[in-house]
Symmetry: C2
Subunit: 334 residues, 2 copies
Amino acid sequence: MVERDERELVRTLAQLLGRRAAAQIGDDVATLDLESGRYAVTVDSQIAGVHFPGDLDAATLARRLLAVNLSDLAAAGIDPALEIFGLCTLAAPRDFDHRRFFAALGTAAETSGLVIVGGDLAACPTLTTTLTLIGHYGAGTRPLLRSRAREGDGLWLGGTIGESALGRHLLAAGARWTPGGAHLDGLPAGSWPGAESAIRRHLCPRPQMALGHWLAQRPRAAALDLSDGLALDLHRLLDASGVAAQLVAEELPIPTSVFDLAPQLDLEPLDLALSGGEDYVLLFALPEGEEPPADFQAHSIGRVVPGRGATLAQGGNWRQLPAVGWDHLVDSGP
Amino acid sequence: MVERDERELVRTLAQLLGRRAAAQIGDDVATLDLESGRYAVTVDSQIAGVHFPGDLDAATLARRLLAVNLSDLAAAGIDPALEIFGLCTLAAPRDFDHRRFFAALGTAAETSGLVIVGGDLAACPTLTTTLTLIGHYGAGTRPLLRSRAREGDGLWLGGTIGESALGRHLLAAGARWTPGGAHLDGLPAGSWPGAESAIRRHLCPRPQMALGHWLAQRPRAAALDLSDGLALDLHRLLDASGVAAQLVAEELPIPTSVFDLAPQLDLEPLDLALSGGEDYVLLFALPEGEEPPADFQAHSIGRVVPGRGATLAQGGNWRQLPAVGWDHLVDSGP
């Protein structure tokens, strides 16, 4: 950081965030002219050592921050074609590459139809960044809620699970990530097929905006995004809806790399899939007979039944699925 | 913290934030039904060791977080009678008193017509909290900008300066704050009249919402809130407006406690007033002849002249006032 002070730095960074952002940033508040309607607002933090490795590349961190926050808006069903507004705080050690972070944030924001309109900078020994997003539902879209699942519904996942947690454990076990890709030479000797993909999946999740918006336009659907693992987040959906669920372990969409690599790290593949967390795919319920378009590559994983809680069949035996998952207040990252 | 996990904690905290907040919090996004119009959005962080002492009482921290953020909305001129929405992130060590923090935030928010609609919790060794606020200008109010000062304007301060920085230095010198008040027995032997008031001023600033809204309804006014000290923030207003200013040191509203106590801490009273920072009063320019109502207890401090930069007369001698102030990226708190 060569800027003389915050004032110069803010000016530089506003340029990196794009022309429209630059026009807003600099005053202590941003001014938004909003149409009347329904908006979704959300905020999420990324903290070194909790949500990501402390030595993570600044550009990758910026993209991860945005993706994790957009995933919340995806689960709310906002219209991704409408403009989204963002405010970013960054508290970073003195040697942090602010330019690289904001250049990547600006590029990723532009791709997502998002304008960064404000923020706050500070020096802090623990790298901490937050993003607040304001999205517009648009006409004809009702907020997608987790409370609308009903008996008989099918349960679906918008993508695979367990791979992100595998990526986190690979980083903890010695793998490294640079902007060029994953470096596996720090891992124990052996074969690590699919490790790079898992690390990429962990660090660079892909928010399912189109799927969320499609769901919000159904007559009835329930959804949330998996941040803390299927077991815990499923219970959130079930509790909010007042229903129970039955799943079959063998039908869960778990990549082969999770089965191949988890044992090498002394981990259970099914544990990673159920409670590893940070999958950032949508979990949703649709009335029986309704199916998401094939383009979304969603997976049917079970069905909604009367009662409370969730049961899982594994090898033909049914057991209770406990509401246990990744907890940012209790667990620590790699 | 006795809650089993984040899920239970969030439920408990939502109750502390009030009935309306509790209805929103729990989903990953909050839904806002907004009227069309102009909104002010802002975010600010409070970080232990940077913005406040690491052992600060959790309730005082919550009130300070809210006050500092509201001060930005005050400087924007929003209508404080209209509802304000807030999102709060808190990343705290495991022994932090979450209940005390959110109970105080809820009470202070209610007093300010603010509803906390969302947030994010995480564990973090460095106590860090952010607040995003969304305020509505309301009909007939234009955003108050720093760029509207013109030659001939009078320059005003909404309150006194230097006392907050004095309070920060008193804390660094050994004074302590508890919810009951200041404790001065850790300070060097001597007499410390006004020390408690200075510490309170530092920790519990009072955002000037009514003054900001009055200014925003003038035909023309320029304003910002003093967060980094008069010298630096004045230059921000002048640079944005393309004008210069003349001030007289002897006319600056500096409490007698600053003159009495600063020398005991080997500090220059005028340095504290000009660049100590965190005063959180409004600095504003009004056309010649216009005066704020006496109720606001504002102080005339100089005038706007053609040119660039600022000059200060002290003892009849004029000198350049450099744009130097409290910089959260460079300076560290006590």
